[in-house]
Amino acid sequence: MGFGVSGSTAVIFLGVLIASGTLYTTTAGTAEQVTEARDTEGEELLDRRNTVIDVTAVVYNTTSGTLNVTVTNNGSTTLSVEDTSLLVDNEYVLPDSTAVDGDPDTDIWAPDQGLALGVNANTTSALDADTTPDRVKVVAENGVAASNTTVEAVS
């Protein structure tokens, strides 16, 4: 009887040990995964709170049908030019040209720098050579947006 009790206790103890090991490994992995996701979310939220953009000038050339939008990064987050979205009269437009403080090749849009976006009428259906657009909206990579309804028309 004594051996039986000892043997079965050892088997159950082994079972509990294996089960605890499995549970601990999974719980630790899951907790790490969720914590990491929350940490990154917190960092992104901070970046978003530190992002301020302003559409400083919107000029539409009625003769050539080109729209030039100047946006200034007034926050403290460095943004990406490639990931910035432009909406003209509520239609998504891919800019034909981009330049940060005159540099057309960079993707880095640092604080206090101005981003110039150029759109030609013949590359987008949102623009009509004769009609000046009413509303321009620029959205940064993290969803922070700025719009301008004062479109200056030049010829």
Binding site: G4, V11, G15, A19, T30, E44, S85, Y92, K137, G143
Partner: protein, 149 residues
């Protein structure tokens, strides 16, 4: 001596078998719970990494009365690529679930990667003049867009 040993041996074997059975069931149950916990953790992490933003203007005409469609641009502001299909979106317009939804990537990419933009077109609508509300749900992330026709 043999009279004592045989029942003891039988009891010993029986107790070991029962203990092994109990341990087996315990391990099996805990493995099941671990699997479920792992899946749930992955789902929660995926939901945290998912974030979308409606970037369309409420002031511009998002509703096309002639076609009965609402067109919205949605930006992926999260950290994971989301399949750009109507199955990724649950669309509710004025508290009514909409199934006539088409999704198209407009930024020239092959997938709806982080910072990308898709066009969500909700068809089959007949909206009266007044205020309306569109609710988009993508992997647990809810976005509400209000506009006026």
């Amino acid at each position: 001596m043999a009279d004592v040993s045989v029942p003891s041996l039988i009891l010993f074997i029986a107790s070991i078998v029962i203990a092994a059975g109990v341990a087996g069931v315990l391990i099996d149950t805990v493995t099941g719970i671990s699997g479920a916990l792992d899946d749930r953790g992955a789902d929660v992490a995926e939901n945290i990494r998912t974030d979308v933003e409606v970037i369309s203007d409420s002031e511009s005409a998002v509703y096309n009365g002639a076609d009965g469609t609402v067109t919205l641009y949605v930006k992926n502001t999260g950290r994971r690529a989301i399949p750009a299909t109507n199955e990724s979106f649950d669309v509710i317009v004025n508290a009514q679930y909409q199934s006539n939804v088409t999704v198209a990537i407009v930024d020239g990419s092959a997938e709806w990667t982080p910072h990308g933009v898709v066009e969500v077109q909700i068809g089959g609508l007949n909206l009266d003049a007044g205020d309306h509300q569109v609710r988009l749900v993508v992997s647990g992330d809810e976005e509400t867009f209000r506009f006026n026709t």
